[in-house]
Homo-oligomer: 225 residues x 2
DNA sequence: TCCGACCTTGACGCAACCCTGACGCGCCCG
DNA sequence: CGGGCGCGTCAGGGTTGCGTCAAGGTCGGA
């Protein structure tokens, strides 16, 4: 879940933002001055900060500078000032975006999404699923087992991916066939048998008694951690 | 030097931007429609794009979408529309910032600096990637091996860069082709074969048995440390 | 104008992959 | 008790994809 830190000395704005963000499944913290902002940022490691420039205790631009000494978290500045000098200062201090009050909530949210999206893959947004026998990295398209990489053919990988992405739920054979071989393949269940066998041979400790690539007779297959 | 691509159908705006940017030591290309923008982006690999939404040949939002199919270059949108719906659309399509006309030149430049600053070191984290056989310096665009520089042609370098930036993840052949040769080259997989062979000949200890530039048959290629 | 570096393009051999059919086994139901 | 069904296994053959080589083309510099 994405964590947002909202910094503003006007409780009405904080409240409005918190409500809107929480409604969209963000996790939200807040602060009402610069010192609090820096403290919260260090303690909670937010994924993005919405920062009002007009704070009671210190200059907003200084807050950005202090923050940038140790963090690259995206900062979206909120300000009543329309003067371009202010904007330039804030942006050059390290802010990522600058929105003037009064602002449209949907625009702000869109800019927030943009800021978060940008930062995401830099951290290493790998989706990794682990079992006691092997490890599947969906982003890198890599399978690890006993400390070494397992080579999968394209079809084997597609099949494994379809199962793993289902997240433990049962996947019907028809759906599996369509996902891997295309929409016109609905009945060739022998394909599934062959490739499931190959996957088990490559991934399971005891291929004849699979613990992770499970057959549900008459229905489909399931991936289990 | 930072390379900027300016896209606008109004010659006056293009001229103003080009002059201002060149004066600040940017390298500037320009295009006057969506097709030209995509072509230039593929050919010149700019570090940031300034894109007017009101283009004569296609919707600006579509330009962003098409661009995002193969590139993560920062896009700064320029538009006469103030409506928040437009902004949300553009930002969610993959734009990084949105400035409404008429715009202040110093503000635009500040936003441009912010976009470039963000993108630069955020890409892969490490600027220098080492393997036991060779070293790649992404910032200096240099490859070292056995204590001496390896001469790479521009295309060889683009290809190597695309692979190294992926950081061990598999890169599909289509994506690779688009990143290196441009969006219209989706099927010429023979290019990949030829240039991968050249890279391996220059970089791998045993080119016939590559340890770092790996082929995943039917899927793509992978750089491994 | 010539030369070299680089990019494109086609052809060819080989290995790997995908499909396919056959067979055996266990389970359920008649 | 026997037949049918679904699943796992195996091996062979057609096809695809990859690596390699070489020739032609383009562009810029000497």
């Amino acid at each position: 879940m994405t964590r947002v830190l909202v910094v503003d000395d006007d409780p009405a704005i904080v409240r409005a933002l918190v409500i809107n963000l929480r409604a969209r499944q963000y996790e939200v913290d807040s602060a009402e001055d610069g010192a609090g902002a820096l403290r919260e940022a260090a303690a909670r490691h937010p994924d993005v900060i919405v920062l009002d420039l007009g704070l009671p205790d210190m200059d907003g631009v200084d807050v950005i500078r202090r923050l940038r000494e140790w963090s690259r978290v995206p900062v979206l500045v909120l300000s009543a000032r329309h003067a371009s000098g202010e904007k330039v200062q804030a942006l050059d201090a390290g802010a990522d975006d600058y929105v003037t009050k009064p602002f449209g909530m949907d625009e702000l949210l869109a800019r927030l999404r943009a800021a978060v999206r940008r930062a995401e893959p830099a951290d290493g947004g790998d989706v990794v699923v682990e079992t006691e026998a092997f490890t599947v990295d969906l982003a890198a398209k890599k399978v690890h087992r006993d400390g070494r990489d397992v080579r999968l053919t394209p079809t084997e990988w597609h099949l494994l991916e379809a199962l793993v992405r289902a997240g433990g739920r049962l996947v019907g054979q028809r759906q599996l066939l369509r996902e891997v071989w295309g929409p016109s393949y609905g009945t060739e269940t022998n394909y599934l048998r062959v490739y499931m066998a190959q996957l088990r041979r490559k991934l399971e400790a005891d291929p004849s008694r699979p613990r992770h690539l499970i057959t549900e007779p008459g229905m489909g297959y399931r991936f289990e951690k």
